[in-house]
């Protein structure tokens, strides 16, 4: 399904499914949010104790299992890893800090735009700026180096782990935390959420939809393929929100959002820059992790650790706005990205090209 129609269709399905999930109980403009849902799952496991954001989100499990099964069926499941794993962990961590400053991953930013949340415009401006900064490093030879083939088991463990999470969700043992109020308490019925996740996982695996890739490829290669999906989500989420009466065009009083433009901008700039360095947005990282990319598994774990820190140390913003700790964390995040981006520039990249014959040979 490597066609413009395919990616527009995928965007349409995601936009509409996200609204349907809100109709069935998910928080408004949070039908699907990779950062929020990883954070909720992290909380359900007790790794942070913010009582309002704890729930094992079946959408995430569905996305992973859907992408895993379709990649097996299409013979694209390929177990690899070893491309700067700890740097990827830190990048995942930093992307989560940025996302929780804005209150949403790039996908939720798009869904918020589709719900009339004008604060997301600041997020989008920041996101695009972060991507541009990332592109400057890419053009100057930034690389996280090659991956290597690994054992099959290594790749199967992540989908298996998620199947295990689903069992914990169904059996709800006492050691798992479920919010009784707040965003974590708002959720669609388990099987509907799982089914939505499976559909999204399959479609995104086939089309390679990626929020950061859309803007990046449009700027870097003048390639509009991925950005069509990005736009399609906004259009169809808007239509869905209008249809169900969730659409609300304003800055103030938006669901799970704050109106501090500067920090909405900076939070998403951090997430955008970090995602470009990782090669894909949080949604794309989930899909890659499901396809056997162990570096992306590490990235997802980094995001989970970032979420735990964000709530244990009051870094995450809330509807009241950013926290002082969160502002410091975002600034530290920028410093970390600068160090990582700078020290991974391959200085001989240009010289090799000018030599003319072989590039990238080992």
């Amino acid at each position: 399904m490597d066609s413009k129609k395919g990616i527009i269709f995928t965007g349409a399905v995601i936009g509409i499914l996200a609204v349907v999930l809100v109709r069935f109980g998910n928080p408004v403009n949070m039908g699907i949010c990779i950062a929020c849902f990883i954070r909720d799952t992290t909380g359900a496991l007790g790794l942070h104790r913010a009582e309002v954001v704890q729930y094992i989100r079946p959408e995430i499990i569905g996305i992973i299992l859907g992408a895993f099964l379709i990649s097996l069926a299409k013979k694209e499941f390929d177990v690899r890893g070893g491309s700067s794993p700890f740097i990827r962990f830190i990048l995942g961590f930093v992307v989560m800090i940025g996302a929780l400053m804005f209150l949403g991953c790039p996908l939720r930013m798009v869904l918020r735009l589709g719900g009339g949340d004008l604060n997301a415009l600041f997020g989008l401006a920041g996101f695009a700026s972060g991507i541009v900064v990332g592109i400057i490093f890419l053009k100057n030879g930034f690389s996280l180096k090659r991956t290597y083939k690994l054992s099959q088991l290594e790749g199967y463990l992540f989908p298996l782990f998620n199947a295990g999470l689903f069992i914990l969700l169904l059996t709800a043992p006492a050691f798992i935390f479920f919010s009784s109020k707040g965003p974590g308490a708002g959720h669609a019925p388990v099987w509907i959420a799982l089914a939505a996740g499976l559909i999204v996982g399959v479609l995104v695996q086939r089309t390679r939809l990626c929020m950061v890739g859309g803007i990046r490829d449009a700027i870097l290669f003048k390639d509009t393929y991925l950005i069509l999906g990005f736009i399609s989500i906004i259009v169809f989420a808007s239509l869905g929100n209008l249809y169900f009466g969730f659409y609300k065009l304003s800055f103030a009083g938006q669901s799970v959002a704050h109106a501090d433009g500067v920090w909405n901008f900076l939070g998403m700039a951090l997430a955008g820059w970090g995602s470009v360095l990782l090669g894909g947005c949080p949604l794309r990282q989930l899909i890659l992790a499901a396809e056997g990319n162990v570096d992306s598994v590490i990235t997802v774990l980094g995001m989970s650790a970032g979420a735990a820190f964000a709530h244990n140390f009051s870094l995450a913003a809330s509807a009241q706005g950013p926290s002082p700790n969160g502002k410091i964390a975002v600034l530290i995040g920028f410093a970390l990205l600068l160090v990582i981006a700078y020290f991974n520039l391959e200085r001989d990249a240009k010289a090799t090209v000018q030599g003319g014959v072989k590039i990238g040979a080992n």
Partner: protein, 72 residues
């Protein structure tokens, strides 16, 4: 002719490496990729920039392709 080996590189590097190689020699290039995502990304880029493409799957390696491109 420039030959590039993008195996093991993650998105968007295969395309970026192709682009850089074409800046040096814009008439033809051969790109080795080892995932279907990289294959379609590189092919799409070469199509957009006006190249005729011939892709062959290499035996014995899963999802490994050699993409040969010539300026139209």
């Amino acid at each position: 002719m420039a030959q590039i080996d993008t195996r093991g590189m993650s998105c968007p590097q295969p395309v970026l490496m192709t682009k850089k190689a074409l800046e040096v020699n814009s008439t033809e290039v051969t790109v080795l990729v080892d995932s279907k995502t990289a294959k379609s990304n590189v092919e799409r880029y070469l199509n957009l920039t006006g190249y005729t493409i011939n892709t062959v799957e290499l035996d014995g390696e899963t999802n490994t392709f050699e993409i040969s491109a010539k300026k139209k």
